[in-house]
Amino acid sequence: MRTGKVKAIVSNLVIVSADETVMQNEICMIRLGQIFLKAEVIKVVGKDAYVQAFESTRGLKVGDEAVFQGHLLEADLGPGILTKKYDGLQNDLDKIETIFLTRGTYTDALDKDSEWDFTPITKIAETVRAGSWIGEVKEKNIPHKIMVPFLLEGEYTVKKVAEKGRYKITDTVAVIADKDGNETAVTMVQKWPVIRPLKGYKEKVRPYKLLETGIRIIDMMNPLAEGGTGFIPGPFGSGKTVLQHAIARQAKADVVVMIACGERANEIVEIFTEFPQLDDPQTGGKLIDRTVIIANTSNMPVASREASVYTGMTIAEYYRAMGLKVLVLADSTSRWAQALREMSNRMEELPGPDAFPMDLPAVVSGFYARAGQVKLVNDAEGSITFIGTVSPAGGNLKEPVTEATKKAAHSFYALSQQRADSKRYPAIDAIESYSKFLDYPELIGYMQQTISQNWKAEVVKMKDRLFKGHEAMEQINILGDDNVPLDYHEKFWKSELIDFVILQQDAFDAVDGFTALDRLKYMQEKVAEICETSFRFSDYEEIGGYFRAIINIWKQINYSLFQSEEFKGFNRQLDELLNQRKKTNESVPV
């Protein structure tokens, strides 16, 4: 047992004078009276190990003992993770009985006594390697694969496999041997150091499939591909959390990992409360069945914020290795960056921009790179799609965390204060935002097949119309309604139509909140048809009135079930309004 003694304390930075060797990022436990505080080595100078405590250091004294654990911060991986609510260090919060999270309380991540119906996949004498599927248990609605431990290197031969039956996670379900005949027992649980990417796949492939979210401004205008990465920066009050929750509820993924990193506790409580009630349309189960929550709320110790994002990503990588589509949402990566800044400051490192550590961009991009679409050792596919939110200080997108993230992510959903102020939700700015997937031939091909042949062309046209409408509005504001050609008003109102009908969406409405692809196609075509029509209005007040009426009917359509009687009724009203206008058009000389 390697030990050390506490030498200095500033907030959660503790300097431990080590008696023997120490390892960078090694976990150590510091004794404080009857309890132990978990801490991680982050810097070593001579015999002094600088450790960041994951708990409050109140009452800690010089001379208190520390015990080094010989391993990095690890996650426990095995069946039973789904529906769990963990803190950043993967303590199962439900197992902590008390109202308060008292220091030094650590609970098992998995349920040691639970039993699982195991079905073998591999056979004796088969060659396996890290990540090979040995067997399967049913975890909620997911076929949870039991895999050869990822820490093993090289090829192994299967010596024994357990028969179909009920086993505990710590029971041996297979025995494998390396080429020298050294045997390793495989159980249903394994450990992985969270800071290292858990690979377990053969190769990464380019993303090509749409990750459907049901959110129109994302799916149609700025699509996110399975295995892609996106980020949502926005000032407070611009609807980041509502948007993230909508994505968590609606996205067509097999497993959703929600990481609340330094955010509000009530937002997590909302998920605890609502997800067990909501149906998962894909499996018929409940939404909570496919969800894991890492709740490291803003009042929990700062150091475990960093741990929380790595723990969440490691769990996602584990499920990806089973050939599943995993979605990871982290809210907010800025809080993690701030935690890094606090620590860097306490260690008196030379600061980078805005006092953030110099290696921030590298840390962020290394983390985003853990997402991706992969081909597994058995050629099955799995993916991790990652969406992070960023909380830019003062809403300024030129700050270091936003800039670092911009370099790392595929798509960018800028939330606009102005749109939020005028209650145009989701407040994603369609002009500022982008998705690099719009230029991926793989994804375009997929969208042309699943939505329509004209999909890409229509998206480009629509973005164009929004831009022109915005320009027209500026001209109108500068010159006045009367002093611009009528054409400007028409352009402006057509962009308003796209805005109100397609971009704006009521996340709290059961029907409008989710738009399936067939409905999206209908909307795209119908709105395009109206925008293509050239109207011959006599004055600008007429234009505004006419478009307000169209938008009002569209709102009713958006609130009606697709192809229901109600829907068809409003659709007829819309057609009438359009036909009337076409007749008027014909009577007006060009």
Partner: protein, 473 residues
């Protein structure tokens, strides 16, 4: 703060700054309290034998051979029912000239609540103010600040909200309160139905700035006692949190920390989150709601203090003077209550969300029309109607002296819609139009209501003290 007997006395101070003192000592716990030459202090750094203390009252007059006694605990508060109706200083010592209450000593600034032991907030707080109840509905267990410029009557407004909010307990955390405002709160709260309902932890501008750092933790330790052990609905008022942040920056500066944005410490977000996240709703019924004041400069919310606050709290309320009606309103554009979705249309009438949004959108259209007018452009008929609507909307609903029930607020909104618009201009779901449009009637009279609180808010002596006279005319 008094030292208990039989503690070791240290007398070797080796370093003094305005706010900190360093001495040689062993066996000292991190964050432990101490008495330096009779002044309260707390351990903020230990490096080998050198212990650095933050001296709350400042270090003037401290000698290098001053007596330092360590108390063996972090800051504590004695909690019991006896706290009710009393006023204390930042150390929890009485300032109302009465006895020191007995009770169980608890450490302040304690650990975080286990998120799985919380309940989702559900209990609406009614204030009668439409800018809150209609547009930014508050829920017990919420944390929300008023972002106000220094010349705005924020203390009068939070007092009004607190008194109307039907709480079991109101705990005032006065952080750098002017003595006049402290006396105002005291005299106002003296007239409540149950005097024991009120508790105050007060640091006025006359007391040392660094002492302010203790106030929120004290107030919230008391709040946790009443909410968790007594299942009470507790409302905590913290005013002014900007002064708390200023005190943080003083200390971090003295500790030679590298400042981040706006000279604030890099840990500002975490420091504030530790306070605001003490708001809670428990399954047992107890709750802590935090309403705070963050003063800002000329409406600038990009400054680090309001910015970090906004990311932590569940919304924010802005006060603004509406020049059309000459009254203070709760700004419908910038204000937000994040928890309102949990109650509106569920605990209130079904049409609430849509009516609220439609009215705000029309009010925004009016703001655009006003810009056009100011730029010398002609107004369309629609523009003129939105302007007429906006004025009445501000007068009958947004003005802070309105005190009516939510259903009445919705009826008034429908009345205004019908008076100025056609149904298709509202963008409201047809089923609500069918249900409410025909029934809507024009709201009567100019001045709907005049209540005791309005009179209180308009109290002349208070107006003069705070130089807010023009706002309440």
């Amino acid at each position: 703060m008094k030292a208990s007997l039989f503690k070791k006395i240290h007398t070797k101070v080796i370093h003094l700054t305005k706010a900190t003192c360093t001495l040689e000592a062993t066996g000292v716990g991190y964050e432990e309290m101490a008495i330096v030459d009779g002044k309260a202090a707390q351990v903020v750094k230990i490096a080998g034998k050198q212990v650095t203390l933050q001296v709350f009252e400042g270090t003037e007059g401290i000698r290098t051979d001053a007596e330092v006694v360590f108390l063996g605990t972090a800051p504590t508060l004695k909690v019991s029912e006896e706290l009710g109706g009393r006023f204390f200083d930042a150390y929890g010592d009485p300032i109302d000239g009465k006895y020191a209450p007995a009770g169980k000593a608890v450490e302040t600034g304690g650990p975080a609540l286990n998120p799985v032991r919380r309940k989702q907030p559900f209990d609406m707080i009614k204030t009668g103010i439409a800018g809150i109840d209609l547009n930014n509905t508050l829920v017990a267990g919420q944390k929300i600040p008023f972002f106000a410029d220094s010349d705005q009557p924020y203390n009068a407004v939070i007092a009004l909200v607190a008194l109307r909010a039907n709480a079991d307990r109101i705990i005032l955390g006065g952080i750098g309160l002017s003595n006049d405002d402290y006396l105002y709160f005291r005299s106002l709260f003296a007239n409540t139905d149950r005097p024991e309902k009120i508790i105050g932890f007060i640091n006025t501008t006359e007391s040392p700035a660094v002492e302010r750092l203790l106030i929120p933790d004290m107030a919230l330790a008391a709040a946790e006692y009443f909410a968790i052990e007594k299942n009470e609905k507790v409302l905590v008022l913290l005013t002014d949190m900007t002064l708390y942040c200023d005190a943080l920056s003083i200390v971090s500066n003295r500790m030679d920390q590298i400042p981040s944005k706006d000279s604030m410490p890099g840990s500002l977000y975490s420091d504030l989150a530790k306070i605001y996240e003490k708001s809670l709703q428990l399954p047992s019924g107890g709750s802590i709601t935090i309403i705070s004041v963050t003063t800002i400069s000329e409406g600038d919310i990009t400054h680090a203090i309001p910015d970090n606050t906004g990311y932590i709290t569940e919304g924010q309320l802005f006060l603004r003077r509406d020049t059309e009606i000459g009254k203070v309103i709760i700004d419908p554009f910038r204000s937000l209550s994040r928890l309102k979705q949990l109650v509106i249309g569920k605990k209130t009438r079904e049409d609430h969300p849509q009516v609220m949004n439609a009215a705000i959108r029309l009010y925004a259209d009016a703001a655009n029309a006003k810009t056009k007018l100011e730029n010398g452009f002609d107004l369309s008929d629609y523009d003129k109607r939105t302007l007429a609507f906006a004025k009445q909307y501000a007068q009958k609903l947004l003005a802070i002296d309105v005190n009516i029930d939510i259903t009445r607020m919705l009826d008034i909104s429908w009345g205004l819609f019908r008076k100025h618009f056609q149904p298709e201009e509202l963008g409201i779901r047809e089923k609500y139009i069918e249900a409410y449009w025909e029934k809507a009637t024009e709201p009567e009279g100019e001045d709907d209501v005049l209540t005791d609180e309005n009179v209180m808010l308009a109290d002349t002596s208070f107006k003069q003290r705070n130089k807010i006279a023009p706002k309440w005319q």
